[in-house]
Subunit: 193 residues, 2 copies
């Protein structure tokens, strides 16, 4: 069991409808030491790639992606969820459906910050149905950039996203893959990796 | 002129209607080395306070607040802008109007993550009318916590927010205060500090 699986067992809370609350350390209150450890672990797994940019999506991916980008010594770019007056009209865009919020958003990245010379590492906190990742992949491809890999903190292995992404032939590394959760007993079953 | 003012002059773009675009290094693409320098600078300014938590608001405050929290060795909590099914009903809430997005949001923080023993440093990227900060202050007070200070990266000195917050008697430190901008010439006038 790795450091993240241990932390999920210690502080994660299993709720009905396959909701895992990790808001005490990952996506509401953030344990910065854990973020740094996650950054180092993704660097260990993707350090052989010539990464030029880390790409994520607001909001809960940002903190994690910052510490990954720090390890690689590259900028971090986060996709935004709606059209702000502070964003150029010159943007790449993709439509993304949120499992958590049960709605659809357009996500956008300014064309200035991704181009054909970029080798991108995509980072996010959760992978469920994979819609957010597919949006980020679509934006990377629209920029002519190459997606060198995807790093996920927690993958819900019982949902379709991981399989969809792996079928694309992209190196997907999830620090914890949950195959089953039971809100009655609080038990969590991790996939052996 | 400090490191941030220099960077704003180098890479900031003045747009009409007093919009300053710093999306190439601060709030869309993030320069991680700059984030670390900002973290160190706020620690220098607030290091004499017994800070227990750094509080910010999604999305663009998160990256900055992470590196501030790292310097203090404390957790970072970010207020969320809408009610997610992954948030407890047990939340502190405040209404916030966004200058950028021209809408109102409820911001929420789980009661689990702020309490009367907390000494809070509030961090955000921009200060304009101060509504977001007032929401974060209201949430901190509702938790019984003390707000030890507020660190802002860029304050629009020609808007009311800075004065409103300073009138509350809270130590407000802005790394750059802009007193005037001209989108025709691209000129930016910083306040002497």
């Amino acid at each position: 069991m790795n450091f993240l699986e241990e932390r999920i067992l210690k502080d994660g809370i299993v709720k009905p409808n396959n909701v895992l609350k990790v808001d005490s350390f990952l996506n509401h209150q953030m344990d910065i030491s854990l973020m740094e450890e996650i950054g180092r672990e993704f660097h260990r797994r993707f350090g052989d790639k010539n990464i030029t940019k880390v790409l994520t999506i607001e909001a809960s991916g940002i903190g994690i992606a910052c510490f990954v980008a720090r390890e690689f010594g590259v900028p971090m770019v986060f996709a935004k969820k709606s059209h702000s007056i502070n964003i150029d009209s010159e943007v790449y865009t993709a439509e993304v459906e949120s499992f958590t919020h049960k709605n659809k958003n357009n996500i956008i990245v300014s064309r200035k910050f991704l181009n054909q010379d970029d080798h991108i590492l995509i980072i996010d906190d959760f992978l469920a149905n994979g819609c957010a990742l597919q949006g980020l992949i679509a934006i990377s491809k629209a920029a002519g950039a190459s997606v060198e890999g995807i790093g996920i903190v927690i993958e819900k292995g019982f949902q379709i996203g991981g399989q969809v992404i792996r079928n694309l032939g992209i190196q997907l590394e999830s620090l914890a893959i949950i195959d089953a959760m039971d809100s009655d007993t609080g038990s969590i079953t991790f996939r052996e990796q």
